[in-house]
Amino acid sequence: MEDFKVINDYLMIRLPEEIDHHGSAAISSKADRYILSGRVENVVFDFERTTFMDSSGIGIILGRYRKVACFGGKVYAVNADSRIRRILLMSGLERIVEIMDTKKKCGEVEQ
């Protein structure tokens, strides 16, 4: 359901329409396989399709952040709509995750 793609040392994760506990373990474990393989240093969560997220999404992001941060990696959130953004901000994630508006900006970081 969710798409995983590696661009340089960035793991791009295209998140599903709804993010809850039900599907979160699968996303986390798949992301961890990429991270632990050593091919990626940074993680980009793309919320373009996402219309619903509960605190399980915060858990996914925090968990991946802990894994990449110890190797100096960064975590980004892109294309989050106002409701998703509110949930990210309420959890204080802006302190550890760069929340960006568009894919274009995200591309600038990649080059």
């Binding site: 809850d20 997220m53 858990g59 409701r83 959890s91």
Partner: protein, 162 residues
């Protein structure tokens, strides 16, 4: 973040739905969609719909993961009760799971007993922030009940926050 809600007399019940659902993670999305459908006649804003769905999702997920310890047994049941009193939604989610010793600790933001499962500890904080009123009762060995209220159709101010 939490709005001050005027204390008011409880209105008359105008609608009521009771659902018993198996405590499996597949039903998390069913539960929040059912509650969303229940309040549709009140013409909720997208913001309000999203708030209610998130709060319900948190409570049901808590019952599945913590109340019933994530065992995914379909004989474990969650009771979902939705009541409308005019434009006020009252939703109660209760389980007969393990319950909690210390409700206050559980309600502290970032507190979680399951960091191993990537739980963020934000569940109760979200319920509190997205609903007008939250009441949690729990008894070790007996179960947990979460009751939340929210007035629907009057919240343009929420969107202008942050």
């Amino acid at each position: 973040m939490i709005g001050i809600v005027e204390k008011r007399e409880l209105g008359e019940v105008t609608n009521e739905v009771r659902l018993e659902i198996a405590a499996v993670s597949d039903n998390e999305s069913f539960a929040r969609m059912a509650v969303a459908a229940f309040i549709t006649p009140l013409n909720p804003t997208l913001e309000e719909l999203s708030d209610v769905k998130t709060a319900v999702s948190e409570a049901v997920t808590n019952a599945v993961i913590h109340g019933y310890e994530n065992r995914g047994d379909r004989s474990d049941k969650i009771l979902l009760t939705c009541i409308l009193r005019g434009d006020v939604l009252e939703v109660e989610i209760s389980d007969r799971g393990v319950g909690m010793e210390d409700v206050d600790a559980a309600m502290t933001p970032l507190y979680t007993t399951r960091p191993d499962m990537d739980r963020s500890g934000m569940g109760f904080a979200f319920m509190e922030a997205f609903m007008d009123d939250l009441e949690v009762r729990s008894e070790p060995g007996c179960g947990t009940s979460v009751k939340m209220c929210k007035k629907i159709g009057v919240n343009p101010w929420i969107g202008s926050e942050d």
